[in-house]
Symmetry: C2
Subunit: 367 residues, 2 copies
């Protein structure tokens, strides 16, 4: 998608040097647009763990390229390759795409001649990235008719108001995004859309990243505190909700950024359709009881206590925003039960958030 | 309540000078504890509008003292007194206690001899403040048995986990607070309590004020992002919710800080009792359809876009936390329908959030 008018992906192999991966350093956004070089598995692991990259698809693609660097570093040693793979998997326990990409690479590499590992791993990393971009584009195609249908019922000149939480935009994938893909598709199709952007505390991915994306693409939007969505829904100011997901079970339960569950409850209470957009790589085909079984990542309380942003001088500074001496807790995700989800928008189409719905679109993967 | 071990109220007549009101300048908290002098109605109006004071009871008491200064400034001119009264009422449209205190003062003053206005108004201002403190103390007495009952069902050594939103603490009143009164009463009674403090964006009254209060009183607490409460409830980590309210109809609908509705939905979905604590001055005896009829204050988007806090140097600084160029909207309150409220804790006891429940405790006021 566009950054200052120039198209980018979130991650790519540098054309200028071998064994060099480049990413958009997302922690610097929206205050600065910086490209970071990753030259080792250790650097890739830090980039994932410390959220230089984040979001299901982008983490998966980064792990894919990370395994390319692992294939180079392992130098034919299978045990070392597995150990480097484990380092990558350990960085973010809730992200399904991470282990999915690493396993996919291991499956491709390990049976092959060690001299071919780097080449095979690079080809597979590029394939993972291309697939991610292509699946997101298709999510946009499948979500577009839902927005078109709502637009038909609106008075002329009034936009379709879509609320989204966190950043499930192209920055969270390789391109297009999941939740944003239908929005970008509708905007390009000339449908009036307006996006309510939840700021998404504690890391403010909405206010920082989703707002930055939408601004760069010229999509009308308004940033709101996470507390506001229920009120807007009570007053008919939200036509639909679209969020992404970090992990969705084959039964339709949705693990996503903390706070998603609260918006889903409000949508249900006010008859607002609540959609979750995801490529099928984000499905968890094993877990049934997601509230009980999915490990929820607890991050440092510091992310709640301190915030960074721009001083009037234009410098980036960090400030304490919580009473000094008061502890903070930081749960990263919550689970929205399938009963609150209107539908799942996938690269194969839209389905009900249920075992039957998901199985209807993805019959083979289930077995 | 205690500040550094010394008891304070949020507002008082200065013992040192005539026509001088003093308040805790709450915008400076928790970074600094400062007393502000208010010497005119204009200064009182600014203090209310710009939230040097905030919270239902504290705004009411401030308006009460403001009317004392108005009685002095009017100098016997009834039209001027009404005009100054209107200035005060116009500062915060959603706050019932504001117009309630102003009307109460006008009713006391206008029929009396003009030379007696200042004395009468001062006596009434002190009465409003004393009543507020006394009612809050009683709210604590009536809420205490609810917490005691929950404590009986907990394993030894495990605290009663109470979630609260915004600041309905003593800083929001003259003393004790509404939502915090039962918590302080339980803590003093030796019951183990732990408070989940919603940070309460965009103005962070939870992270700043409630956390500061609880720390000064020695009550165990943890600050969380507003997004977290639903997840905690899904996992049995919240035993009850207590919030305050800016206006509650006699039918039990609760207008309170934006985001309260989302927590009430989550409480309902997880079988967690959701209580609202209020002195009866906060009841709206006229409005029936609160979602449709109550005007919801929209404040400047700047409060979402910028935040202030402490730099590492100890200086207070303001930073931009939203993508530059992205607009923000700032709705200050939402409405929690009575069907989501377990009970109302008032100075007369606990009642159902319904016309019957409220009427049972306050039969006369209704007519």
């Amino acid at each position: 998608m566009l950054v200052d008018g120039k198209p980018y992906r979130t991650i790519w192999k540098s054309p200028d040097a071998d064994g060099l991966v480049q990413i958009i350093e997302q922690r610097k956004l929206p205050w600065a647009f910086e490209i970071e070089d990753l030259r080792s598995v250790a650097e890739v692991a830090v980039a994932i763990k410390d959220m230089h990259v984040r979001g299901a698809g982008c983490i998966g693609a980064t792990a894919g390229y990370g395994m390319w660097l692992a294939a180079i570093e392992a130098d034919g040693d299978g045990q070392k390759l597995r150990s480097l793979a484990a380092d990558l998997v350990a960085t973010r326990p809730t992200a399904t795409n991470l282990s999915w990409a690493v396993e996919r690479q291991l499956g491709m590499i390990l049976d092959q001649s060690p001299t071919a590992w780097p080449e095979i791993a690079l080809r597979e990393a590029e394939a993972i990235a291309d697939e991610d971009a292509d699946w997101c584009r298709r999510i946009g195609e499948h979500g577009l008719p839902i927005i078109e249908e709502i637009a038909k019922g609106k008075p002329a000149g009034e936009p379709v108001n879509i609320l989204t939480h966190c950043n499930a935009g192209w920055l969270a994938f390789v391109d297009h995004g999941s939740a944003t893909a239908p929005i970008y598709a509708a905007h390009r199709a000339g449908i009036l859309v307006h996006v309510w952007v939840d700021e998404t505390r504690p890391r403010n991915q909405g206010a920082r990243l989703t707002a930055w994306e939408l601004k760069n693409e010229g999509v009308p939007h308004t940033v709101i505190a996470d507390n506001v969505g229920g009120h807007l829904m009570q007053h008919g100011q939200v036509d639909m909700v679209i969020t992404g997901t970090d992990r969705t079970t084959y039964t339709g339960d949705v693990a996503n950024k903390i706070g998603t569950y609260l918006k889903a409850l409000a949508a249900k209470d006010n008859g607002v359709p609540f959609y979750v957009a995801l490529p099928s790589s984000t499905f968890d085909w094993e877990t049934r009881d997601v509230v009980g079984e999915i490990p929820i990542e607890q991050r440092g309380g510091d992310e709640v206590v301190r915030m960074d942003g721009l001083l009037e001088s234009g410098e980036v500074a960090e400030i304490q925003v919580v009473n000094v001496g008061s502890p903070a807790a930081n749960y990263a995700f919550d689970v929205t039960p399938a009963r609150l989800v209107t539908g799942l928008i996938t690269e194969r189409g839209v389905c009900e958030a249920s075992e039957e719905g998901v199985g209807g679109l993805f019959p083979i993967t289930k077995d």
